[in-house]
């Protein structure tokens, strides 16, 4: 899966959790929790949705590492490569 495909799928999940957010203007290198209205429950739902969508089996120890688009892509690439 390319970075672009990964990014689009991540954005789509984020869009379901925060449908009112303007995701087009999201900076991919910054914590999205500081750019759009995402609380701890939303973040938990986001990580669970990533886990389910990509069947990534995200370890609990990595729970806090999905806070920017860039970090999501890096983490997912690593986890998907590991599971192959």
């Amino acid at each position: 899966m390319t970075d672009k495909e990964l990014k689009n799928r991540v954005l789509s999940i984020l869009g379901e959790i925060a449908p009112e957010a303007d995701l087009d203007s999201l900076r991919s290198d910054l914590d999205f929790r500081e750019q759009i209205d995402i609380d701890s429950m939303d973040y938990l739902n986001f990580v669970i949705a990533l886990d389910e969508e990509f069947q990534a089996d995200i370890p609990e120890t990595e729970y806090t590492r999905f806070t920017s688009l860039d970090s999501c892509i890096d983490q997912l690439k690593r986890l998907l490569a590991k599971s192959e």
Binding site: D24, D37, Y63
Partner: protein, 388 residues
């Protein structure tokens, strides 16, 4: 015979519009089953029945707005004799009043099925923009779906949809204004604040979560809720309502959670019997409740039965919350953000995580002395998180 009435889903609700009957005359119903959907200022709510039996009569038509307390249906309870003949009071085949409603927009009439109306309400679709494909141009569910699916960017979102959302927000704002104004007018609030050391609780939780999958992760908010719920057992006068000049202590501890909605506004649905739920169940319940609140699919019991409210504004950076009690309740507990602060223990200073907890309470129901003891009990419980 039992009467199924338009429930009061909070101090701010005076009426509701029956959107859809989910049962027909002659259907068996069981306690807790959803039998109708009602549109309120807080959105569409699924209404449960509180008796086992058979639907004898449906008295209100879909689309009718009626005051709280109006009898909507008659239910023949188990064991009682049926009235003969059991007849459908509300015609399901004839075009009901709800089918044709005067549109606010240029006086045209809108023909739509109840399901289509409900869906349009949920999706923010203005029915006057939908082309009906049913008999006589009646709008069906599929027509609403088609309209909602029309490709559009956020900036191109149709004016009608924005207007529908705005109207909903206005109604909710009015409802909140009414309840909060009543609260400040009628309830003599007193406020207490304490700082709780959360160090032990957070360390314990971190360890606890390492053994869990992401799906079963527990957030610290759940520890706060459980501590409040358990503490209330020793302070029943705070788990109560003030009505007709007297205190009504509630047997069940149903904690209302203030949940902000994405489109604006606030709803406080309840986690029922929070004191009896283990932490993982409470977490699942909270997750589910937030999800359903934000997607507009709450049950009536979750809105009608809360006995106290907890609000947590810590994630918005707030240090201390001074809440407004939701009448007729008599207390509200507020939590601020978790911050690192200095703790002095045995003459030594150390850094620790802390949180400010507040109690807003009704002075007609309790005094500051009891309120202070209650906050101290929450603090004590959070120092032994493994017992929660």
């Amino acid at each position: 015979m039992a009467e199924f009435i338009m429930p009061s889903l909070g101090a701010d609700m005076t009426s509701g519009t029956l959107i859809e009957w989910q049962k027909s005359v002659g259907d068996l119903v069981a306690r807790g089953e959803i039998i109708a959907e009602v549109d309120t200022d807080k959105g569409v709510i699924e209404v449960e029945v509180f008796t086992d039996g058979v639907i004898e009569k449906l008295l209100i038509e879909e689309g009718d707005e009626v005051p709280v307390g109006t009898v909507l249906a008659i239910i023949r309870e188990d064991g009682s004799e049926p009235n003969q003949p059991a007849e459908e009071t509300v015609s399901e085949t004839a075009e009901s009043k709800s089918d044709i409603r005067q549109s606010a927009k240029d006086g045209q009439r809108v023909h739509a099925s109840p399901v289509a109306r409900k869906l349009a309400n949920k999706l923010g679709v203005d029915l006057t923009d939908v082309n009906g494909s049913g008999p006589n141009g009646r709008i069906q569910r599929e027509d609403v779906e088609r309209t909602a699916e029309k490709p559009q960017t956020k900036s191109e979102r149709p004016l009608a949809q924005k207007t529908a959302t705005k109207d909903k927000n206005k109604r909710m704002r009015r409802a909140i204004a009414s309840a909060m104004a009543r609260s400040k007018r009628e309830i003599p609030h007193y406020y207490l604040e304490t700082t709780i050391d959360l160090g032990k609780a957070l360390t314990w939780l971190e360890k606890e979560n390492t053994g869990r999958s992401i799906k079963n992760r527990i957030l610290y908010n759940v520890l706060l809720l459980k501590a409040v719920a358990i503490a209330l057992k020793d302070f029943p006068e705070l788990n109560a309502t003030w009505e007709n000049e007297k205190l009504n202590i509630k047997q069940k501890i149903n904690i209302g959670i203030a949940i902000s909605l994405r489109q604006g506004g606030l709803i406080s649905p309840a986690i029922l019997e929070a004191d009896r739920q283990p932490l993982p169940d409470l977490m699942r319940g909270l997750r589910e409740l937030v999800k359903r609140t934000r997607s507009g699919s709450l049950k009536s019991s979750e809105l009608a039965d809360s006995t106290i409210t907890v609000t947590n504004l810590g994630e918005q950076g707030v240090e201390t919350v001074f809440g407004v009690i939701y009448p007729p309740q008599v207390a509200l507990i507020g939590f601020g953000k978790v911050y690192e602060g200095v703790t002095v223990r045995n003459g030594k200073m150390a850094l620790s995580f802390k949180i400010n907890a507040t109690l807003a309470a009704d002075h007609r129901a309790t005094d500051g002395h009891r309120g202070g003891l209650f906050l101290a009990a929450i603090d004590r419980l959070l120092q032994e998180p493994e017992k929660l």
